[in-house]
């Protein structure tokens, strides 16, 4: 019961929808195309109209000559011939026309004029000749008119108004002549003419509708076919793309597998419960197990039992959060019992339902790296304590001698102890620089920033580095003042930078020279600069002047001292204080080293 209702309902709705679809299809047709098709059809019928007119005209002329004024008949014949020739020219012009679609309304108009002319030429014959003819010839002419009018129905069916014009041209004068003939029978016939005309126009109208609908459907289906073809092409294109994408996915899958297989790090694929599904070759080498010994077992085989609880906690978090974890350092026992420390990155793979389907673990042996870090730390500590303690004794002893508190010493001996003290100091500077660089690079240097007036900075630097100036016979001079400015900086570390810059400037200045120190505004910064009149910075050296262990000229190191680390430390210190450091050669010889520190308000 239910089933049949459904079936009926379906078929009814199918019917309705078919009509709707048809209407929709008709609507798709381009009306300009439809008109052009109708015009083309009308022109295709023109040879029939021209031929019928010419032949019927010839017969009529033949029949009428001698029974009428010879000249009038010949004039009428000339009209018919002229019409036929003109209509032929129109037809020819139409076929030569390059664009029949957009000019279709014009061609229709010309055709309407031609049809009216054609009809009117017959009408003329009726109007002029009918009255003076014998009964038989009147019958002949009436028959001819009726025939010509009904031939117009199929010829002009594609446009009923043209038929209406054409038939009116024939029947209008004939109707008038019959009505005014003075004969009752003719009046009765005359009254039949409009009826006859109306019926023919209605038929022409119906035919026009059929043509219209036919052409509309033809174009709609044409368009539909075109759409269908386009759609098919697009689908085909998409299929090709899809195939290409599939190939790419396959290729990248193979590539990934290859990456994992050949990677120098251990890669393990784990199930969500921690069971090992796959391991790569590097993992086999690293842990000393063959793949078959690990696959199928729990990954905890690679974790020391005392850390199993911690492992479970991390694993649960991983599965719950479904987020990758990096930098996990885990103690992993090898097959031979020796522990490795590996750094792991674990990535859960999640399907479209957000379920974890696998976990990829990538591990790198960092045992040696950690050991190296520990050794570096130990070395640094040794450097700082074990080297500094004996240096304290060496430099201290020499200072006591050189300062004269132990009494006068022989001049040459004094020179030697001065050399020894200076070089002891150099060694100490080197150690301090190395420790500083190490501290900065390992991120262990903490700054104690405070608000400092640049003028104070310059004054302090001049006092602290007076000894350098004296030693190299160079005078430090402050140039200009910058009152009311403040910078945020670590006082001790800025002075360390100043000492470096001033000692460099003093070292490379000619004896008796002047080193100028300036502080000035530089945009949002304060620029502190040290200007010397030394040899300037050689071109080849500029790129690496702030690098480690660099000096322009290695003989300079021997003559003037310095570790070659000073400017590298300065750069790092200034950058830690959000500043910039740089240099330029001075016009007239010498170099300027400057650093910018952000200006702050006293708030």
């Amino acid at each position: 019961m239910n089933h049949s209702t459904t079936a009926n309902g379906t078929s009814r709705s199918l019917e309705v929808s078919t009509k709707a679809v048809e209407a929709e299809i008709r609507d798709r047709a381009d009306p300009r195309q439809v008109l052009a098709d109708r015009v083309a059809h009308l022109y295709r019928q023109m040879p029939i109209a021209i031929g019928a007119t010419f032949i019927a005209g010839a017969i009529a002329t033949y029949e009428l000559q001698g029974r009428f004024l010879q000249e009038l008949v010949l004039i009428w014949w000339a009209i018919v011939v002229t019409f036929s020739a003109t209509a032929s020219l129109l037809l020819y012009a139409y076929y030569r026309s390059p664009d029949k679609v957009s000019s279709a309304p014009d061609w229709l108009r010309w055709l309407a004029i031609a049809a009216l002319g054609n009809g009117a030429s017959w009408g003329l014959a009726g109007g002029v000749f009918f009255r003076s003819l014998s009964d038989e010839h009147q019958l002949f002419l009436g028959f001819l008119f009726a025939g010509m009018a009904s031939v117009g129905v199929p010829v002009y069916a594609a446009s009923w108004p043209i038929f209406a014009l054409y038939a009116a041209g024939i029947l209008g004068p004939f109707f008038y002549v019959l009505l005014t003939f003075g004969n009752r029978l003719f009046i009765e016939i005359a009254l039949l003419v409009p009826l006859f005309y109306a019926v023919n126009v209605v038929i022409a109208y119906r035919l026009t509708q059929v043509f219209l609908s036919g052409y509309q459907l033809r174009h709609a289906y044409g368009k539909l076919t075109q759409d269908h073809r386009t759609l098919n092409q697009r689908l085909e294109g998409q299929l090709v793309d899809l195939e290409e994408a599939r190939r790419q996915v396959e290729a990248s899958g193979r590539k990934l597998a290859l990456f994992a297989e050949r990677a120098p790090i251990a890669v393990l694929e784990l199930q969500p419960d921690g069971t090992v599904s796959e391991v790569n070759h590097a993992a086999e080498l690293l842990f000393g197990y063959a793949a078959v010994e690990l696959v199928g077992g729990h990954v905890k085989k690679l974790v020391r039992p005392e850390f199993h609880d911690e492992f479970d906690r991390i694993w649960q978090e991983l599965i719950a959060k479904r987020e990758s974890m990096a930098g996990l350092k885990i103690r992993n026992p090898r097959r031979d019992g020796i522990d490795l420390i590996c750094e792991w990155t674990v990535t859960p793979l999640v399907n479209f339902r957000h379920e974890v389907i696998a976990v990829i673990a990538q591990g790198r042996d960092v045992t040696a790296q950690l050991e190296a870090e520990r050794m570096k730390k130990e070395f640094t500590s040794t450097l700082s304590h074990e080297l500094r303690t004996p240096l304290t004794s060496i430099i201290g002893s020499l200072q006591l001698i050189n300062s004269g508190v132990m009494g006068d010493v022989d001049k040459e001996v004094g020179e030697l102890t001065t050399v020894a003290e200076r070089n002891g100091q150099r060694l100490l500077d080197l150690i301090n620089d190395l420790l500083d660089i190490e501290k900065i690079e390992s991120g262990k240097l903490t700054l104690a920033p405070e608000l400092i007036a640049p003028d104070d900075l310059v004054r302090e630097a001049m006092v602290l580095n007076k000894a350098f100036g004296e030693r190299f016979n160079v005078r430090f001079e402050a140039r200009g003042e910058l009152p009311g400015r403040l910078v945020l900086a670590d006082r001790k570390r800025v002075q360390q930078v100043m000492t470096n810059l001033l000692s460099n400037a003093a070292k490379f200045s000619p004896a008796g020279g002047v080193v100028e120190i300036s502080a000035e505004d530089s945009g949002a910064n304060v620029r502190v600069a040290v200007h010397d009149r030394g040899p300037g910075i050689p071109e080849a050296f500029r790129g690496r002047i702030f690098g480690r262990f660099t000096q322009a000229d290695s003989t300079a190191t021997r003559q003037k001292g310095g570790s070659g680390l000073g400017l590298a430390i300065c750069k790092r210190l200034i950058e830690l204080m959000q500043g910039r450091i740089g240099f330029e050669n001075r016009a007239g010889g010498g170099a300027t080293f400057w650093f910018d520190l952000p200006r702050r308000s006293a708030a």
Partner: protein, 129 residues
């Protein structure tokens, strides 16, 4: 600032060479009286006998290092008020801050200049209450 000048210094240091330099520096340059203690475990006794104005402690020493000795001094009423200056080659800034908080009068880093050492100590002395 204490109302008397700094004259009596007790120095606890296990390295004999540095002992000698400090002694010479303070005696010759600073004109002070110096008592040096090599064994930190005997330091408390030495303080009681010598009665220094100020104590200098080396940081790194075997058996009992400077900070540990300093904490012991803080526990005893007879030494808890003694000003203490640390001499150290390796203390981190955090360690120093911690010692300052515990009440160290100052720190002098190794290597120090024997020429300037008496002045450095007098400067610390001048800042004491």
């Amino acid at each position: 600032m204490p109302d008397r000048p700094l004259t009596r210094i007790c120095y606890v240091e296990d390295d004999e060479d540095i002992q000698r330099i400090v002694r010479m520096s303070l005696e010759r340059v600073g004109k002070m009286t110096v008592e040096v203690v090599s064994d930190p475990t005997l330091a408390l006794q030495a303080f009681a006998e010598f009665r220094p104005d100020l104590v200098m402690l080396d940081w790194m020493m075997p058996v009992l290092d400077g900070p540990a000795l300093f904490r012991q001094m803080k526990l005893r009423p007879e030494t808890s008020g003694l000003p203490v200056v640390f001499i150290t080659a390796r203390a981190s800034e955090r360690d120093l801050a911690e010692l300052q908080a515990l009440g160290a009068a100052g720190t002098i880093s190794k290597p120090f200049s024997p020429r300037d050492l008496p002045e450095q100590l007098r400067a610390i002395w001048a800042k004491l209450p």
